[in-house]
């Protein structure tokens, strides 16, 4: 495990996680959550849990982002609060 790479990815995970909650735009929120899932996938791969990384990449970063976008498509663009 290379600690510099680990630190960089962990920082990005926290940044994307906070950004997902903070962003008002729902579509941006869905895309940021996809980025978060992909960074988690990289973390699993670094920790040699390749099966989990594969699942995270296909389910978390792939299909669930599509589901969120499909759900956002059925809403108005911005929240009211």
């Amino acid at each position: 495990m290379i600690w510099q790479l680990d630190l960089a990815i962990l920082t990005l995970v926290i940044v994307t996680a906070v950004a997902t909650i903070a962003v008002k735009d729902l579509l941006g929120c869905a895309i940021l959550f996809g980025a978060y899932s992909f960074l988690m996938c990289l973390l699993w791969a670094i920790m040699a849990a390749v099966d989990v990384a594969f699942t995270e990449a296909s389910v978390g970063a792939g299909v669930s982002t599509v589901f969120f976008v499909a759900a956002v498509f059925r809403t108005t663009r911005r929240t009211r609060d």
């Binding site: 495990m1 920790m47 390749v50 099966d51 990384a53 594969f54 699942t55 296909s58 389910v59 792939g62 299909v63 599509v66 589901f67 976008v69 499909a70 759900a71 498509f73 059925r74």
Partner: protein, 274 residues
């Protein structure tokens, strides 16, 4: 209220961070997880099941009962989305048809639905002209994605992957078709009825293999007894049993992913969507 929420979240986060100090270091040999069960699986899985990927052996054989209910959970998620979102009785609402030669759009409000013809094509309310590049690239990509998904399911014994991942990728290929063309194109190729049937068939394959094991005189999901019907020795029978189970998981996951997407994107009407 908002500040109270933030304080609670920060407190809970600090508690969790404090609790991680009790964790064994990453990959420690003397941690409880890697002292009893893990070494046994790592040493014996290959000779007992003939599956080089220990994760697959543990998921589908040693912990087969667990994975069976995981598949059932996904099946229930699909059924739940179907029941919540699907609109069964709908009046024929506004429809838009485009005359292909002259690109004139007709707006039909209720009443009789025109027959299918080669001169007119039905378009969504928010239709924009199809992008040729996106359409062509996606059409070429879909078969390769499906081939890769089948490889992931079939090669789960030797490399990372298996029923769940392969099923998700198979479902994603059909979803890609629905996104790049329109939802009706995808539903024409893969109808809702087939899809809902496949959701149940996948779980049926999994539990069916378990039941066959009982009928052959062993415990539920004890694949060794399958050697009598598959004409292989008991170790290879376990390997083949795992493969059969993975196929069931893959079918269920694929059908559930497509069903959830279709119901979400079309708000349960299954005709117009993203």
């Amino acid at each position: 209220m908002k500040t109270a929420g933030i304080i609670i979240v920060l407190l809970a986060g600090a508690l969790l961070l404090y609790a991680t100090r009790d964790f064994p270091p990453w990959g420690a040999l003397d941690s409880p997880a890697s002292t009893h069960v893990s070494p046994r699986y790592l040493q014996k899985a290959m000779e007992e099941t003939a599956v080089p990927n220990v994760v697959t052996a543990v998921l589908a054989d040693y912990r087969g009962f667990d994975t069976m209910f995981e598949t059932t959970v996904i099946f229930c998620a699909g059924i739940g989305c179907f029941i919540l979102l699907r609109v069964f009785r709908q009046r024929p609402g506004d429809r838009y048809y485009r005359h292909i030669a002259t690109e004139i759009t007709l707006h039909i409000k209720g009443g009789r639905i025109p027959k299918k013809s080669s001169e007119f094509e039905r378009i969504d309310a928010l239709w924009t002209p199809y992008d040729l590049i996106i359409k062509t690239v996606c059409r070429i990509l879909v078969p390769f994605i499906q081939l890769f998904a089948l490889y992931v399911i079939a090669h789960g014994h030797h490399s990372p992957g298996g029923g769940f991942q392969g099923g998700v990728i198979l479902g994603a290929s059909v979803i890609l078709l629905a996104i790049s063309h329109n939802m009706r194109t995808a539903i024409d190729r893969f109808s809702e009825k087939t899809n809902n049937l496949l959701m149940a068939i996948g779980v049926f394959i999994y539990t069916g293999i378990g039941t066959v094991c009982i009928l052959l005189g062993a415990g539920f999901l004890d694949y060794r007894s399958l050697s009598a019907v598959l004409f292989v020795d008991k170790i290879m029978a376990r390997s083949h049993g795992i493969f059969g189970v993975e196929i069931g998981v893959g079918i269920t996951v694929m059908a559930v992913m497509i069903s959830i997407y279709n119901n979400l994107a079309s708000a349960g009407k299954q005709d117009e969507g993203l």
